[in-house]
């Protein structure tokens, strides 16, 4: 008689554990005193990955110099649906936090950052020149509310001589600051991040040959609009490439597989 055996239960899948770094001795000496190091803690710190192999790169679109090397046993949340997930769960309560702040979160209304929504966000990236440009734009827009001041022609030309090389130098400096920090191995948003400085430079060179009738402020506004348009176009283009489509399909397959 054949004994039919039940197929193995699928909820008992063995998940691969990432190999831990060699445990350092219990006592961690430094300076005048030694730390007590928990062995138990180190084993608990092993990250558990959900349905992904060890070779999969992280989904965090972080680009910066790799001078510090990779962090040690790092716990990564599984299948993070974007970096904003925790904000919606973490409510900032208390009298010093006004109720509007507690409900605030990106995509829910008031955006906190001065950067536009299309600008790629990278932790601790130098945005000095960008923020200044937007501050000037905002100040200029506020000026527009008041009476229009007609700038005389010779005064105009004086301005352009001074500011035009300055603005392009500014943007060039910006590019030199950004490029060393772009790491090629990261996926998803990095191709866009790499092309943003190129776009900025292209727009700057474009503006260098503009007519003298435009004030430097108007030129800056134009360049900002141009940059925005170009970045959105770039984003759309990237989404349509076969590689991006493949990546999206792979992501969907992974999601479905994890739900089995």
């Amino acid at each position: 008689e054949e004994i039919k055996t039940m197929p193995e239960a699928r909820d008992r899948l063995v998940r691969s554990m990432e190999s831990t770094t060699p445990l350092s001795p219990r006592r961690h000496p430094f300076g005048e005193f030694t730390f007590h190091v928990d062995e138990l803690d180190r084993s608990l710190a092993t990250p558990i990955r959900w349905g992904s192999t060890a070779t999969t790169t992280t989904r965090v679109p972080v680009t910066f110099s790799a001078s510090r090397g990779s962090a040690g046993p790092v716990i990564r949340g599984g299948l993070r649906g974007g970096r904003n997930m925790f904000i919606s769960q973490f409510q900032a309560m208390g009298r010093e936090n006004t109720p509007t702040m507690a409900r605030r979160g990106r995509g829910r209304g008031v955006r906190r950052s001065v950067l536009p929504s299309w600008y790629p966000r990278t932790p601790l990236r130098d945005i000095t020149s960008i923020v200044r440009a937007f501050e000037r734009r905002r100040a200029h827009l506020q000026e527009i509310e008041g009476p229009e001041i007609a700038t005389p022609a010779p005064h105009n030309r004086q301005f352009i001589d001074v500011s035009a090389p300055g603005s392009s130098a500014h943007l060039k400096h910006d590019k030199s600051m950004m490029t060393p920090k772009v790491v090629k191995s990261t996926k998803a948003c990095s191709p866009l991040v790499g092309s943003v400085p190129k776009i900025l430079l292209g727009v700057a060179n474009q503006n260098a040959g503009d007519s003298e009738l435009l004030t430097p402020q108007k030129k800056l506004l134009n360049s900002i609009d141009t940059v925005e348009k170009e970045v959105m176009d770039e984003l759309r283009k990237l989404k349509r490439t076969p590689r991006a489509k493949k990546a999206e399909r792979e992501k969907r397959v992974r999601t479905l597989k994890s739900m089995r």
Partner: protein, 429 residues
């Protein structure tokens, strides 16, 4: 061959040609009496006025002259000025405080919560900032950023970060009440302190090998990181979240501020009873949460505290006697306080409506500068190890750097003797 014109002068009859009639007119018509309201002039302004008078030769007491016209006193007075440092305090040239930030870094996902402490600058010149679930390190010497740790979103977000005195180890407080200890140079975690608090750890401060943690449960706990059983002392007093925690420079006294509007001073030599250490002072003067705390680097028992939105005051305390020395209404929520290590100045960061950083002269509490730039409340501040730069992180998701404190090196007036503006005052163009 030239003639010496020798005039025999009388000591009772003044010499008209030697008199300065302009000065005589000025003195006789009531000049020299201070017209300004003495209340509003600060000591710096007084000193400046005196120096100006001296340079312009306006502090003479005599009008009548009995001898020959004196030689132009310009050069000699300059020399006198240079050598008169012995008597009065040398007046340092006013340093230029840049009104805008020097650098701005992007800080996405910075949690907009008043009660947390997510920014700290370590002795190794590395800045630690917690953005959401991740702790980032920024090396100020070369401007490079790196990720230290990303914690699981179930136990996060990160609620506090604090560098150890050695500048190498970092304590990371979490929303689930645990505290992780990390070695930033080796990029590895050393241990997790558990079971001390029942809710999130929003404030921390080091005292040698003791890590003092303040929790949302109102408890303050001294953790000895050298031993396995790390809880060595508990300070009970706060009834709501402990959001401010600062040890004095001597390590003898601990100041703690909470969401219960209370400010406590704890002393290490205090009595221990009822399974808890008794506080030294309990201040209930503030009418809102007390988060901003700063001990003066010049006076070991001088503490500055700042109140939240309902209080908006900066108060000064003598931690030995318990006296409140001064109270200033700043007009907006005080989020953080920093003392200048080089000058007697205090920097405060604020919320609505200006989101500014205000530099105050101490003890006159005259506003020296107001730094604007942030578009949302400036929640966290940290000072560079050399004391010249201040980093501020605000709810507008930016981290800004301000050269507000100066380098502490005084430019000697001697080097500017020839280019001093009043050296040629007789030749005003």
């Amino acid at each position: 061959m030239f003639l010496f014109f020798w005039v025999q002068l009388d000591r009772f009859i003044p010499n008209r040609s030697a008199m300065d009639f302009d000065y005589a007119q000025y003195m006789l018509t009531g000049g020299g009496k201070g017209k300004e309201n003495p209340v509003s002039t600060s000591p710096a302004k007084e000193q400046y006025r005196k120096l100006l008078a001296e340079t312009l030769n306006m502090n003479r007491t005599r009008i009548l002259a009995f001898r020959n016209k004196p030689t132009t006193p310009v050069e000699t007075i300059s020399q006198e000025m240079l050598s008169s440092h012995v008597q009065s305090k040398p007046v340092k040239p006013r340093r230029h405080i840049p009104q805008t930030s020097e650098k701005t870094l992007d800080a996405p996902d910075l949690v907009d919560d008043y009660y947390l402490n997510l920014l700290d600058w370590g002795k190794s010149n590395t800045l630690a900032i917690a953005l959401g679930n991740t702790v980032y390190l920024w090396d100020a010497s070369n401007g490079s950023a790196s990720e230290l740790v990303t914690i699981d979103h179930e136990i996060g977000p990160v609620t506090s970060v604090c560098w150890a005195p050695d500048g190498q180890h970092l304590a990371v407080g979490l929303n689930n009440s645990n505290v992780q200890l990390w070695d930033s140079t080796a990029n590895c975690q050393l241990r997790t302190l558990r079971g001390a608090h029942q809710s999130r750890v929003g404030s921390m401060d080091w005292n040698n090998h003791i890590l003092t943690t303040g929790g949302m449960d109102g408890k303050i706990i001294n953790n000895d990181v050298r031993v396995r059983s790390h809880i060595v002392e508990t300070y009970r007093g706060h009834t709501r979240e402990v959001c401010g925690l600062k040890w004095s420079a001597s390590g003898q006294q601990l100041a703690s501020g909470g969401n219960d509007n209370l400010l406590f001073i704890w002393d290490r030599t205090a009595a221990f009873s009822n399974n808890a250490t008794q506080w030294l002072h309990r201040f209930e003067d503030h009418t809102a949460a007390v988060k901003a705390l700063a001990w003066s680097p010049f006076q070991g028992n001088l503490l500055a505290s700042g109140g939240g939105g309902g209080d908006r005051c900066i108060k000064f305390w003598n931690s030995h006697t318990g006296a409140c020395l001064n109270s200033i209404d700043t007009g907006s929520q005080v989020c953080a306080l920093l003392w200048n290590k080089n000058e007697h100045e205090l920097l405060s960061s604020h919320g609505f409506a200006q989101n500014q950083l205000t530099l105050w002269k101490y003890p006159s509490m005259v506003k020296m500068a107001e730094l604007t730039g942030h578009t949302s409340r400036v929640l966290f501040m940290a000072q560079s190890p050399d004391g010249s730069t201040v980093a501020s992180a605000a709810a507008d998701e930016t981290l800004r750097f301000w050269n507000v404190f100066g380098t502490g090196k005084v430019a000697k007036p001697a080097t500017k003797a020839n280019t001093e503006p009043f050296a040629n005052f007789s030749r005003i163009r």
